[in-house]
């Protein structure tokens, strides 16, 4: 039975039976509740309860082992307030986000426009550009600790072989280069995501818009400025927000690349929270950090939803 063959078969009488309050409608409502039950239960237990628990825990003292927790009021928050590493970790991920916003967006949009123009190899370029996006954070960390290794790493070896040994660095352990290096790695694996969305946006764009613009004498930059850019603005909004959310939550890659070092120069909030809990055994202040940091993320996500709803 296909959808097509079913269309038009329905009698008006059958439609009437599905009105609210009819036996069929009531049976189907029951079915809806049954169908939603597993999702609601799982989300309640494994997502909602921990979220609330994190808030509760942020007012408590817990070492991660003992059975009991005790309330300590705002002590955890006061403690976190003075944790300069936590706040500088927030600044670090904001730098990643800014890099993603300025450089990543430009790269994504530029490459999407280029791929949209060419006739051959579209699929190849699209596949290649998003490939980094399917690697795990751990794999990416491993790849780049090898590429950026001080002596055997290909980057330093190439710089050496073209006579630029002066530019060689211990990229991941030199405080001057570690943060930019991690930001570059973030850009490398994240720009393909924006590229995919921009490409989809470009392919959805009505051809008539360009035809009309070219009739009006618009060329090159003008077409971009007055047709492409405004049309893609909603995509830009979503890509920017998702890039920011992605940058803020960077964790595994940093743990593998630098573990937050040298001297916390590349610390990121999630890693700080993890360490506070599992290394320092202060789950209460870790929870306070995750409430502060998570709150900021939730705010951003609300913004994202608001944008994407408005677009419809």
């Amino acid at each position: 039975m296909t959808a097509r063959s079913l269309e038009g078969v329905v009698l008006p009488r059958a439609r009437a039976t599905a009105r609210r309050g009819s036996p069929l409608a009531r049976r189907r409502a029951l079915m809806a509740y049954v169908f939603l039950f597993p999702a609601v239960i799982l989300l309640a237990v494994f997502t909602l309860v921990p979220f609330v628990q994190a808030i509760v825990l942020s007012f408590q003292d817990w070492d991660g082992v003992s059975a009991g927790t005790s309330y300590v009021g705002l002590a955890n928050y006061k403690f976190v307030l003075h944790d300069t590493v936590f706040w500088s970790s927030m600044r670090n991920v904001l730098i990643f986000g800014a890099a993603g916003f300025l450089i990543g967006n430009a790269l994504s949009l530029g490459m999407a426009m280029a791929v949209n123009r060419v006739h051959h190899g579209k699929a190849f370029f699209r596949t290649a550009f998003y490939l980094p996006g399917v690697f795990s954070v751990v794999v990416i960390g491993m790849m780049f600790s090898w590429l950026l290794a001080p002596n055997a790493g290909i980057l330093n070896r190439m710089l050496g072989s073209v006579g630029l040994s002066g530019l060689q660095h211990n990229w991941l352990e030199d405080p001057a280069t570690a943060l930019p290096a991690v930001a570059a790695v973030f850009l490398w694996y994240h720009w393909g995501f924006g590229f995919i969305l921009y490409l989809a946006g470009l392919q959805d764009m009505p051809v008539e818009l360009y035809e009309a613009a070219s009739l009006d004498g618009a060329r090159g930059w003008a077409t971009f400025r007055y047709v492409t850019w405004p049309e893609l603005l909603p995509v830009t909004a979503i890509v920017s927000l998702l890039t920011l959310l992605g940058a803020l939550q960077v964790f595994g890659t940093v743990q593998v690349l630098t573990n937050g070092g040298p001297a916390d120069h590349t610390m990121v909030p999630t890693l700080r929270i993890y360490e506070e809990a599992f290394t320092n055994r202060r789950f209460g202040s870790a929870a306070a950090m995750s409430v502060i940091f998570g709150g900021a993320l939730v705010l951003l996500a609300v913004l994202h939803l608001w944008f994407s709803r408005r677009k419809r």
Binding site: P38, L42, F46, L57, F129, V134, M142, A287, S290, G294
Partner: protein, 270 residues
């Protein structure tokens, strides 16, 4: 003409940039330690396939890889079942409280992992589910439900109206209609969800790090970092282990790239 050449040149540079790290990893994984550190040549004189064998045994990949397969298959299956049911109810049934449930889904979707992983760890302790395959899979399923349900809802909503009523007239029960008529029609949605959730479960790291300290239960991502922090393994073996871990993903992606790309955009634009 020159413009075209420039365009291809630009795209090729970007493609090399995207592909080079993985190619370099693969090359390194086939070299001897000596070549790796002192070698003057880019390619291995003789591919050291034995690196892969060593990586497999030394890195315990025979434990971690099957674990990852178990977690990925069961979590994706769970996500598909739970979210197609939820998505169906939200798209095609009129019931009291629908708006509230939809809003609730959106609300839990925006709870980020960094906000709750500490408390999830605590919850798992109280449920006696640390170092538990089931516990890990349940958390993964729950993490995948909101976005997947919304994606499925979109696909169900686009099916022709009155499908259910027509099937009911044919004497099909509601459940039967869902399983035999509706689900097959929503196949593109199921595939999109399976593909993006499959990738995200395979690559999951944070929860695996927090929930497991039993080596025999760890998925590959966690196993890899275990291997790194062990008694400083040799670089080429490490590269081979990384290559083994990423190979299934690359093969999968190359074959399903269309679905991956579609899944990404349908997920992000929801």
């Amino acid at each position: 003409m020159t413009k075209r050449v420039g365009l291809y040149g630009l795209l090729s540079v970007a493609a090399v940039g995207a592909l080079f790290p993985i190619v370099w990893l693969l090359i390194g994984s086939l070299q001897t330690s000596d070549e790796l550190y002192r070698g003057k040549h880019l390619l291995p004189a003789k591919p050291q396939w034995s690196n892969y064998l060593t990586a497999w045994t030394d890195g315990d990949l025979g434990t971690y890889l099957p674990n990852s397969v178990i977690y990925t298959v069961s979590a994706v299956a769970g996500i598909l079942v739970v979210s197609s049911m939820a998505g169906y109810a939200l798209a095609r049934i009129d019931f009291r409280g629908k708006a509230a449930v939809t809003f609730g889904l959106l609300a839990v979707m925006i709870i980020p992992a960094p906000a709750s992983f500490i408390a999830q760890y605590k919850l798992m302790i109280s449920l006696g589910m640390t170092n538990s395959r089931l516990g890990y899979v349940l958390i993964l399923i729950s993490a995948g439900i909101p976005i997947s349900s919304l994606i499925m809802r979109g696909f169900f909503a686009n099916l022709p109206k009155d499908l259910e009523e027509a099937a009911a007239l044919d004497g099909s029960s509601s459940l039967n209609t869902f399983a035999r008529v509706i689900l097959p029609l929503a196949r593109p949605g199921l595939i999109a969800v399976a593909v993006i959730q499959g990738l995200s479960v395979w690559n999951e790291y944070l929860l695996a790090l927090v929930l497991f300290d039993d080596d025999t239960l760890m998925p590959i991502q966690r196993g890899l970092t275990n291997f790194v922090s062990a008694e400083t393994p040799v670089q080429n073996i490490l590269l081979a282990a990384t290559a083994i871990s990423v190979l299934p993903v690359v093969v999968f992606y190359v074959f399903a790239q269309r679905q991956v790309v579609q899944g990404i955009s349908s997920g992000a634009l929801k």
